[in-house]
């Protein structure tokens, strides 16, 4: 596997591990070991989605709903 794909797989793993936390695209870029600009470029190339779009699609709907309503509940655990 080429190093670029390996890094993007690491980013996808990071997303899965932190789905219920308020992570940012810059956190995912750091997990992949790329600058934000290069990460966005590489992620789009391999995954064919923007990192933020991918994160939103993977994130449980309850978490997204809480964010939309700006509810102050903690995200950890994804309960309720």
């Amino acid at each position: 596997m080429d190093p670029q794909t390996e890094r993007i797989l690491a980013a996808l793993g990071y997303i899965e591990q932190h789905l219920c936390e308020p992570i940012m695209v810059s956190d995912i870029a750091r997990a992949a070991g790329y600058s934000l600009f290069h990460f966005i470029r590489t992620f789009n190339k391999i995954v064919r989605h923007t990192p933020y779009d991918y994160l939103m699609r993977r994130r449980p709907w309850r978490v997204s709903l809480r964010r939309m309503r700006a509810l102050p509940e903690p995200l950890a655990g994804c309960s309720g």
């Binding site: 695209v25 070991g33 470029r41 789009n44 923007t50 933020y52």
Partner: protein
């Protein structure tokens, strides 16, 4: 990676702008991504208005400015502006937008060949850390002159990257 430190007066540019994720649903290092399309729009403008425009404005050097804001870290969205220098705001063609970059100190890095399409931002930020600087404004720009031969000839090309800096 080596840098030259310089101080510049404000830079006034006229050009076109894109905001969002420029690589969304496109091949990444082709001219089909949003940055490539922005350049195509700008070059088309220059061609169609060549009789009305100043020589220097038409033939460059050209600037590609990346401007980061609150949604950059969280959602990966940012502004890309491509353009050329104008001497004053009264010279702004009505089809174009202006961007005024502030007077500041810059670290200037020259990228050659494959470095141009690599992760130069990561290397530049590491250089800042190691040399006692931080970014003074949330933007950087790429400077394209006759040394840049196009994406098809990137191996024979050079560009300069300017990063606004201040001492930590």
């Amino acid at each position: 990676m080596e840098a030259t430190i310089i101080a510049l007066e404000p830079i006034l540019l006229a050009g076109l702008s894109f905001y969002g994720d420029p690589f969304n649903a496109s091949d990444v290092w082709t001219e089909e991504n949003q940055i490539g399309q922005l350049w195509q729009r700008f070059m088309k403008y220059l061609k169609h208005h060549q009789n009305e425009l100043d020589e220097t404005f038409q033939h460059g050097p050209f600037y590609e400015v990346h401007l980061y804001g609150p949604e950059t870290e969280s959602e990966g969205l940012f502004e890309v502006f491509v353009g050329s220098r104008i001497p004053g705001i009264e010279e702004l063609p009505y089809h174009l937008m202006a961007k005024r970059l502030p007077s500041t100190q810059y670290a200037v890095f020259t990228l050659s060949g494959k470095e141009i399409v690599g992760d130069w931002e990561q290397e530049i930020l590491a250089w800042l850390d190691q040399n006692g600087y931080r970014e003074s404004y949330p933007f950087n720009f790429q400077y394209y002159d006759a040394r840049y031969k196009g994406l098809d000839s990137v191996d024979d090309s050079e560009i300069d990257v300017y990063l606004p800096i201040e001492a930590t």
